[in-house]
């Protein structure tokens, strides 16, 4: 068919124009769409940059909080810990969405530094709290903490620069590619216009057929088929036009290829993403998914594409993005719409949502979406990215528990250790948790979690698994699997009884010396990841710190007891000194008048003509003057014993020397001495002269109680003081600890008993059951005073068979 030339020309012209416009628009749209995709990627990338800015900010906050703590502006370390946890969470979020290898590496280092800092800052805070008990190591921890902070800052800053550069470069590359395509397109358009103009000229010279051919080809191209070429039949203008046309088609093809390469590039990025990606259209129907999503949810691609977006959510979303409480209510239109509305909103940034897998499990996801809008602002499609944060959530919960545990720490190290053990229980679960400490030959459970009824708290150390942990003293947790088949199963019946399978422990060190094991046992097979091991390490170290505190506390108690002892001695000494001063003054004042009286009586005795009664009375007066003088003398002597010089002395020797001193009276009174002295006694802490005085006094008392003869029993032995009372215990007046070893000396006579009332008062000064001629009543109180100065104990009781038993408890000389 041949049309009129003008109309054919017009028609061809129009067709070509349309063709050119069509191709341009088509190409343009593809470019535009590509550019949008690039933008979208850049937006996601830039959100990472924001993350880094935020992280740097948190690190600066940590630094200033730590500085405030160091300068004392802030009294507690917890703000630092809270900020640190925030930073760690952030790092983990970022890690989950990391793109660049360098960035991921730096994130790992940063997390390590933070953990180091956390640990050290906590130890440092413990030091500060206890007033630098550990001295140099406190400063060391502070220095390590500050270094960790500096490295954290360096890492975050350098990575920030690195990511900024990387993103800028990537954006530049992508946009550069698009620019290149647009330049090619412009050339093509220009060539097309030139060709069109040439064609129009050729048309004007007729020949419709080639034009129709061109029109047909143009239509074909417009339909997207770029493969077909027009045959060049002639080498005239038409032929050239055809060639030009063919060339144009080739150019377009090239441009299309470039776009295709771009698309593949973007696709490969998407498929290599660790984050899940799903793109939905304006109706909420899934258009595109990436491999990560398919892997996570267990669907095949064709099972998801074309289905509503609600299919992958476990619960509906409200407008603020939080998972609404409504459990998957079915795929109703409203529900579907609510999700669509939520994810299309601009507020959808880092929401925590729940995806549901094909087999019905729920997975916590950190969700971001970005809506693509047309020029009218209508949503065309929405790209949703999300990361699996299930592990992150668990870690967060664990950190929370550790935090709570540390924040609840009180003054009692024992209770704190129990708190740590409880934290281990709630984090690790398991059958039960123990903190076992080695004490000599015995392994003792100091704290436990979920320990079954009737479980032995003490066991012999031989072959115990915890003893191996302590002996190995590893710097990583000790794991034993298949406990029931291990060598421990034979020795520990609990393994079989409770069906224990797996054992995890970390050694507890007190001042760098392994002393115990913090362990978790499971009745199932179980593996432990690095995070769990790290958590156990930190908690074991916390137990170690508390053990050190406990030890420090005991030292303080000992020092306090010694101080109290010294104080009591000083008080006792001061009391006696005061009495002494008084006694010396009184002695002088009394002795002078006594001197006069005695001389007076002597004078009267010399007079002649004294009746018998006169002489007797004068005798009596002399005796009583001497007695009064004796009392004064003893009083002065009593108060003079304000100090004893303690040396290691053999108590048996002292007893023997004292016996020699009273031997004469013993023989005189027909008294039998029964000795039962332990030859292997340890030395006592004693003042030899004063102790001889004690024994002479006690022997004389006993002898005086047996005017008609009898038996004097003398016993010495070593004894563990296992019953409270008699100076043993925790009262202020007690000088012996329960369980302390001491030397006991017992002196018994077979004379008269003493009434209970008098027994109470027997050690009071001037108390005496003897007649005036026998004693001053100062003997036993002087004796007690000397024993008190030795920090010993003297007790007196009636014997069942009559007579009195005096018991001395004496301190063993403690070396040196």
């Amino acid at each position: 068919m041949v049309m009129p030339f003008r109309s054919a020309r017009n028609l061809a012209f129009s067709v070509m124009l349309f063709m050119i416009i069509g191709v341009s628009v088509y190409a343009y749209l593809i470019m535009e769409r590509n550019a949008e995709r690039v933008d979208e990627i850049v937006v996601v990338q830039e959100s990472r940059l924001n993350n880094w800015y935020e992280l740097s900010e948190v690190i600066r906050e940590i630094e200033s909080a730590f500085n405030r703590y160091q300068t004392g502006e802030s009294e507690v370390i917890s703000p630092v810990m809270l900020l640190l946890d925030k930073a760690l969470r952030k790092v983990n979020e970022m890690k989950a969405s990391g793109i660049y290898v360098g960035e991921l590496r730096n994130l790992d280092s940063l997390a390590d530094e933070m953990l180091t800092f956390r640990q050290v800052a906590f130890l440092y805070a413990t030091e500060v709290k206890t007033g630098y008990k550990y001295g140099a190591s406190g400063k060391e921890m502070k220095r390590i903490a500050q270094n960790a902070l500096i490295r954290m800052n360096e890492l975050s800053n350098s990575t920030l620069h690195y990511v900024t550069d990387k993103i800028a470069k990537k954006k530049e590359d992508l946009l550069g590619n698009i620019d290149e395509s647009q330049r090619v397109l412009a050339v093509v358009l220009f060539v097309s216009i030139v060709v069109t103009a040439g064609a129009a000229i050729f048309m004007s010279r007729a020949l419709a057929r080639p034009i129709f051919e061109l029109v047909t080809a143009a239509k074909r191209i417009a339909a997207g088929d770029l493969d077909g070429k027009i045959e060049v039949e002639t080498d005239d203008e038409i032929g050239e036009l055809k060639e030009a046309f063919n060339h144009m088609v080739e150019e377009v093809q090239c441009s299309q290829d470039a776009i295709e390469i771009e698309k593949n590039y973007v696709d490969s990025i998407l498929s290599s993403m660790n984050d899940t990606l799903v793109v939905v259209n304006a109706d909420g129907v899934i258009m595109t998914v990436n491999q990560a999503l398919l892997n996570l949810l267990g669907y095949a691609e064709e099972e998801l594409v074309g289905r509503p977006i609600g299919s992958i959510f476990a619960a509906a979303l409200d407008e603020r993005g939080a998972n609404s409480q409504t459990e998957n209510p079915g795929k109703t239109g409203d529900w579907q719409k609510s999700i669509l509305n939520a994810i299309s909103s601009t507020k959808c940034f880092n929401w925590e949502v729940t995806y549901r897998t094909k087999d019905g499990r729920n997975i916590n996801m950190l969700f971001n979406s970005s809506a693509m809008k047309n020029s009218d602002g209508e949503v065309i499609s929405t790209a949703c990215t999300a990361q699996n944060i299930t592990l992150l959530k668990k870690m967060e919960a664990d950190l929370d528990k550790i935090n709570k545990c540390f924040l609840n720490f009180g003054p009692d190290p024992g209770e704190n250790i129990q708190l740590v053990v409880n934290a281990v229980g709630s984090i690790f679960g398991g059958k039960c948790v123990f903190y076992n400490k080695l004490d000599g030959e015995v392994l003792r459970t100091e704290a436990g979690w979920n320990i079954p009824e009737g479980f032995a708290k003490e066991s012999p150390k031989e072959g115990h698994i915890c003893v191996d942990v302590i002996a190995a003293d590893l710097n990583e947790p000790y794991v034993v699997k298949d406990l029931d088949e291990s060598k421990y199963a034979e020795l520990d019946p609990a393994i079989a009884r409770y069906g224990l399978k797996t054992y995890l422990a970390y050694v507890v060190r007190e001042n760098d010396i392994p002393v115990g094991s913090l362990c978790v046992v499971y009745d199932e097979d179980r593996d432990f990841d690095d995070d769990e091991k790290k958590v156990l390490t930190i908690l074991s170290q916390a137990v170690g710190v508390e053990e050190e505190r406990k030890k420090e506390g005991n030292k303080v108690k000992e020092a306090y007891a010694k101080l109290k002892e010294a104080q009591e001695q000083v008080i006792q000494g001061e009391k006696l000194k005061a009495i002494g001063q008084l006694a010396s003054g009184v002695a002088h004042e009394v002795k002078n008048p006594l001197g006069i009286v005695l001389q007076g009586v002597n004078y009267l005795e010399g007079k002649l003509e004294l009746s018998e009664d006169d002489s007797e009375i004068l005798d009596m007066m002399v005796k009583n003057i001497k007695r009064a003088d004796n009392i004064i003398g003893t009083l002065v002597e009593y108060s003079r014993a304000t100090k004893v010089t303690l040396k290691a002395e053999d108590i048996n020797d002292i007893i023997k020397v004292s016996l020699v001193l009273v031997r004469h009276r013993v023989n005189l009174k027909n008294i039998e001495i029964v000795e039962d002295l332990d030859k292997n006694l340890p030395s006592v802490a004693g003042d030899k002269g004063k102790m001889e005085q004690v024994f002479v006094n006690l022997f004389l008392n006993a002898i005086q109680a047996m005017p008609d003869g009898g038996k004097l029993f003398i016993r010495s032995c070593q004894k563990k003081l296992d019953a409270p009372g008699d100076g043993v215990g925790r009262r202020d007046t007690d000088t012996f600890d329960l369980g302390e070893e001491a030397v006991i000396v017992e002196i018994e006579d077979t004379g008269a008993s003493i009434s209970e009332d008098n027994l109470q008062k027997i050690f009071d000064p001037f108390f005496s059951t003897k007649g005036p001629k026998d004693g001053t009543g100062m003997g036993l109180s002087v004796t007690k005073n000397i024993i008190d100065l030795h920090r010993g104990f003297i007790g007196i009781e009636n014997r069942i068979d009559g007579g009195v038993k005096v018991s001395l408890t004496l301190k063993i000389h403690s070396g040196g």
């Binding site: 002795k591 001197g595 006069i596 001389q599 002597n602 004078y603």
Partner: protein, 125 residues
């Protein structure tokens, strides 16, 4: 045989009186008592006692000072001094012996003992 001269120095008048009576009744002593130590050196020079019984705690000039003063005097130096005091500490006794006293007696003092000591002091003079 001449009576032995005994000088008794004490701030207690009653004590001086009864000691004088006791010594004189023994029959062999000429006794001079002195309740004031102010002019002790002059008194000793005048009386020239064989034995001086001396108290330690006295107003104004104490027994120890008296010993020192007498040690510096030719007559006093040749006088045997026996301390008769209520002070019974070893320290006091030692200090007195250092000053050359021949004996030290702690009150109350028995007459027989006192006379024994005086006899001893005279004998060793």
């Amino acid at each position: 045989m001449d009576k032995k001269k005994v000088m008794v120095v004490d701030d207690e008048q009653d004590f001086l009186r009864i000691v004088k009576l006791n010594l004189e009744s023994a029959g062999e002593y000429e006794v001079l008592t002195l309740s004031n130590t102010k002019n002790i050196v002059a008194e000793v020079n005048r009386f020239k006692p064989d034995v001086l019984l001396l108290d330690l705690l006295m107003p104004s000039v104490g027994g120890m000072e008296v010993c020192e003063m007498l040690n510096a005097d030719p007559v006093g130096k040749r006088t045997s001094i026996i301390i008769v005091s209520a002070l019974e500490k070893d320290k006091d006794k030692l200090n007195a012996y250092k000053l050359g006293v021949v004996d030290y007696m702690v009150k109350p003092v028995d007459r027989k003992e006192l006379i024994n000591k005086i006899e001893m002091a005279v004998r060793f003079k």
